[in-house]
Each structure stands twice: as structure tokens, then as C-alpha cells.
Amino acid sequence: MRKELIQTLRDVRMRVLLFGAPIIQLTIFGLALSTEIKNIKLAAFSQPEDAMFRRVAEGFYASGWFVRINHMPGADPFELIASGRADAALISPKEGLARSAGRGGGKIQLLVDASNAAKARAVEAYAKNIIAAAAVREYGARGEAALKFDVRVLYNPAMESSMFLVPGVMGMLACLITIILTAMSLTRERELGTFETIVSAPLSNAEILLGKTLPYILLGLANVVLVVIAGYLIFGVPVRGALWQLALGALAFVITTVSVGTFISTISKNQQQAMLGGFIFLFPAILMSGVLYPVENMPKAVIAAAYLDPLMYFVRILRNIMLKGGDAHVFWTNLGALALMALFAAGLAYKRFRQTLN
């Protein structure tokens, strides 16, 4: 077991890979990614004397979400969008907005490039609100609203993307690192022929397996600790719940992924297979974890599959502890699921491991 740990840490490249890469990636993703859509390129089209429309358009540019795209008079809005120079075009009625509105129900046309459907949705939502506010500015509010919602956002009141993404990215990184460390380990030994040496040593199967996996479990945990500290220092993502809960969750998760990785490495005949196996596990695990897409949104059959995803449970635990301060019900149910998985995966890995030995 010590041999494995030393071997892994001896290689400088390995050390960089293990400890440098997660921090770098966490920083990049945390800084770069935002669930907010920004810098939408908008071109406005109107008759030159249409002052009201121009005020409405200025409202768009002042919002901070839209970027002004200038165009020649007589340019074709469709052409601008087709060429990708604009994401959206705002077009005033021919007769002028004030005239059209005076006759009741003026329509400003909004063309949106929907080749990115998610972005198109955001653009429409922004535009609706900006135009509604402009209408109030121009004509004053008509009548008092009978019903209002007083909206409060809990846990992340400023709705900062990093607060929500960083715990998710942490989970993904922990998953990635443990799987890629273990998926090839045994396959490699078998290919190199060093496996026989270990097997011939006076150790029981369980001892060998434990010796082979424990270092990776420790490395995985060290990684989680590192990433949590980095998340706190760089992004100010708090840990509002108890640290022991976080530690317990991380332990169960790391045991699961290390076991899955070991299992992959026992069933693979060569390293190429092991790598593909790791990919087959990682890709769905990440997409179904709820970090990138809400799980509840998926079709029922897919949700059923997502319940087999250890990363989903771990991300739930992470988010609950870090942002919500830890709820006993959430913690214990998800931890229970993870523990079951850890047990099952470890058992499977052990069984396969014994078979390979014999």
C-alpha cells in the first residue's frame, strides 16, 4: 500500500496532475462560468425620426446585458443574424413606435437567433421586461396592480453563479480524479507483469485490494479538502454546515468512485478498455449529476438512471451543507444512498478482484 502511494507521488507530473489540475480547473470554471447570459449582440432598426423607439432601444443597451451592434442604413436584420454579427434584432413598426402605440397595441418586433435555444429564451425574457418597463416610462402605469409577488431568494440572495457552480465543480473534480487514478491501476500492473509479483507475496486478497485502493481513497479525500479550501479562499463559497458531515459525505463518495474505478480496472483486458470504461462512467455521471442540468427536468426513465449516479448524491450533500447549512434529512438520506453504493461497488470490485486472481 505504501508502495502505491509512493509510486503515485514520486512522479512530478503526477503531483502536478493530482493537486495542480483541480485547483486550476476550479479557478477557471468558477471565474469563467456564469449561468447568466450576457453580451447579447443587439441591432436596432427604426426610421430615423422614431425618437420613442430609440429611447426603448437605449433601455436595452443600458441594461448591461446587451451590446450595441451598429449597422448601415438599409441593412437587412436577417442578414445580420445569419452572419452571426448580431444575436438579436429589435425592429420598430414602420409608422414609428409612438404612432403605432397611439393606435393601441404597438408591436416592436424582436428577431432572435434561436440556434442556441437556451440563450434565445433568456433574450426573450430580458426583452419582455425591458419593453414593459419602457412602456411604463413612456405612458405611466395604468391602474394599480391588484396582485404582487414579494420574491425572496434564499441561500444565495445575489444569485451568484459561482456559489452554485463551485460545489458542483468540486464534486465533478473529485469524481474525475479518483476514477482516472484507479481505472487503469490494476490493468497496468497486469500488462506490465508486476501483478504476479504482488499476488505471489504472502498477503490475502483483501489485504492486497485494500493496499491498492486505500492510497487512492486518501488522495481523493486530500483532493476534496484542497478544493473546498480553494473554493472558500478564491470564491468565498461558505461551508455553512458541519465539517464532519462534509467529511463523511466525501468519504462515502470517494470509496464509491475508487471502487468503481477498481472494478473497471479488473474487468478490462488492456488499458485502452480501462480508459473507455472510465469514460463511460464519467460522462453520464457528470451530465446526470444535476450540476449542469436540473435532474427533476429530465424524463422519468432518465431520472431513474440518475438515482444510480453517486455524483448526484454527493453534489446534493455538498450543496446542502455548503449553501444551506446542512439539513439532517437531506444529509442522512443521501449519505445512506451513497453508503449503500459504496458497499455495493466495493463488494463488486472485491469479487471481480478475487476472480482475476484465481
Binding site: 512522479d11 507530473r13 503526477m14 489540475a21 477557471i28 471565474l31 469563467a32 462560468l33 456564469s34 449561468t35 447570459i37 449582440k41 448591461g64 445569419a82 403605432s100 397595441g105 404597438g106 408591436k107 416592436i108 424582436l110 437567433d113 434561436a114 440556434s115 437556451a118 429564451r121 433568456a122 425574457a125 425591458i130 414593459a132 418597463a133 412602456a135 391602474g143 396592480a145 391588484a146 396582485l147 404582487k148 409577488f149 414579494d150 425572496r152 431568494v153 445575489a158 453563479s161 452554485f164 474525475l176 482516472i180 487514478l181 487503469m184 491501476s185 483486458k269 485502452q272 478498455q273 469514460f279 460522462f283 436540473p294 427533476e296 427536468n297 429530465m298 432518465v302 450543496r319 437531506v330
Partner: protein, 419 residues
Amino acid sequence: MNQFNIHRAYSIARKEVMHILRDPFTLALALGLPVMLVTFFGYAIDYEVKNIKLAVLDRDNGPAARRLKEIFPASGYFHLVDIAPGSGPVAMLDSGRASAALFIEPGFSRKIKGGGAVEAQFVLDGSDNSKAAALIGYLPGIRRAAQVRLTGSPAREPSSFAPALLPGASKKRGSAKLLFPPNNPAGPRQYYPAGAAPSAESEADPFSAETRFLYNPELNSRWFTIPGLAAIIIGLLAILLTALTVAREWENGSMELLLSTPVRPLEIMAGKLAPYGILVLAGVFFVYFVARLVFGVPFAGSHVLYLAACLLYITAALSQGLVISVITRQQQVAMQLGMITGLLPSMLLSGFIFPVESMPEFFQYLTMLLPPRWFMAAARGIILKGADLGELAVPFLALGLLSAGMLALALKKFKTDLE
């Protein structure tokens, strides 16, 4: 002796093909994986946020409160969950058993009947941003529909509400962001439950927006997800498969053997890349048929152009794999490096999920180093918008440059290793 000899490259390729064929499991996986993953996730991923669990605390119990409660599930986005005994709405949010909670105070129905203004508090779980933002985006529509149902009078955006929603109202992002629907799936198009006519409301507005979605009029998430998914899976597969090839030869010691033959480095590279290129290209064809036949993704542009983009992209991804392979010389490290530089960056920074234009400027430049970012732009342009080569000159050029750069790097490193 110094020239590139196609026959020698061909021999290397044949050897590599034998290697692939000897391992039917890998072959089947390499061919089947893209189709499997695209089908599964094409089906799974939907940007529209639905099935939001809403807990309602109704302290009023009047007829108006009941009607307000019914409006939410009628929108198609919410379903009501009962508040567990002994628990409150906020505890429901804490435990994740609800994503949002609505508080209706006593006297709600009475005030509505008397024609007064009422307020209902809406609390939501901000720990999942994309969901919370979508939720806030649904609220104005629901509010309008509710107002019609409760009072019978179509009312406009309340003056006190709209400016607060507005980003332009203040430059303070924090407070402005709070109330605004910033996000991916923000705007539903069907706010109105049956019975509440949307036109009644827009007639009352002096002017409003009439949105036309080009290229994907129904905002079908799949049309947009599937080309992206295909790009990511194909690219990753190409990186991972090639990352191991050269490293395998070093590890097995067969590289020395290969080098003692008169084969030139460039020939080795070409021979090693070609079979994997063909393998991955086969994956592209499968994915194409699934996308067209199963998911009905339209194809507006030129197939030839798309094929050219695929070839360039595959070359870039294979070259990236080759660089990794040449540098690491060890299969395990090669795989680790391939996964780390491939998986998360190509999923998160390529514009697949998070638009590149929304990133801070520095990171926009950083993404330029990623082949999938360019291919994503080219593929979506060709498939949905029918863009021509002139419009896609930049992505094509970038892909070409990246491939050439990485190939040169791999070759140089390979040559120095030999000396």
C-alpha cells in the same frame, strides 16, 4: 529516404488497424459509444425547467387563495407538494422537498374581493441558480394570469414591480440581478393557463414585443443540444483513443523497434492517426443518422461543409491526443492528462452549455485554444442556420491552425525524443 513515403505510413496504419481489430470490445465501444450517449442525453437534456415543487402555506383558505394556488400547476411548470406535518415551508426548502414556497396571508381573499391590492410572498431556493432564475422568469406571466383570474381585469405590469425587475434601473448588479430572470431557460412561452386570454393583456399595453425565433422557432432544446453533444463526445473519443497509441508503443518497448526501421516520424504519426480518424468519422455518421431520424434535427446547411468541419475537428482532436501521447509516454498518465484536458474543458468552456460570449473577456480568449469551441460554432451554424464557408471562415481557420500547431508540436517533441 527523407521524403514522406505513403507506403510506409500505410504499413503503420495497417498495423494499427490490426491492433484495433484484435480488440473487438474497444472497436464496438468506439463505434457505439457516440450513438449511445447522444441518444440517451439527447433524450434526457431539456433546458426548459419544469416540475418545480411548490409548497403553499395558505393561511387564508378563501376562494381567491384557492384560485391562486390552482394557477401554478395550471401553468405546467409547477406541481404542488404538501407541507409535511410538523414542518414549515422554509424547512421544506431546507430539505429540498420543495424548490419554492408561496405564503398567502389571512385576509387575502377578502382584500381581493374588496378591490384592494394584495401581496403574496414567494420564497425560492437559490442554491440551484439555473432553476431559481427560470422560476423568477415564470413569475410575471403567472402574476398576470392570476390577476385576470382573481379580479377579472387584465392589468399591466405594476409600476412598482417592473422597474425593480429592471437591470437598467440600477447598475448595482447584485440587487438588480436578484429579481430578474437572468438565465438559460428563463422565458416560457406559454404563461397562460386555459381561460386567461393573453391577448387581453397585451392589448392594454401601449406597446409590447413580438418575438420571432429564427432557425429554431419552437425553441426545441434537442436541436441545439444534439449537435453540441455529438461534438463533445466525438472530440473526446478521438483524444482518448490516440492519447494511448504512441504511449503504448513506448511502454511496451516496441517504439525502439519501430524506430530502428527506416520509417520516418511523420509516417508513424500519419499511420497512427489515420485509422482512428476513420473510426471516429464512422461514429460521426452514426450520430448524424440518429440526430436526423430519431430526433428530427433539421439540416439547413451544406453536408459537404459539415463533413469538412468534422474532418478538421477530428484532426485537431487526434492531434491533441497525439501531443499528450508523445509527451507522457505512459498510458496511464496519458489517459489522465487526456481526461483532465479533454472532459471538463470541452463540456464547460466550449459553449456547449455556457455561452462563450457570457464569459469574462480573458476566458473568452482562453477558450480559443479549445477545438470544440470552434467546431461547436461551425456545427450549429451549418446545421441550424445554413451558414456558408464565408460566414464560418474564422472557425475553420482556427481549427486548421490548431491542428497544424499541435501536429507540429507533437512532431517536434517526437523528433527530439529520438535524438
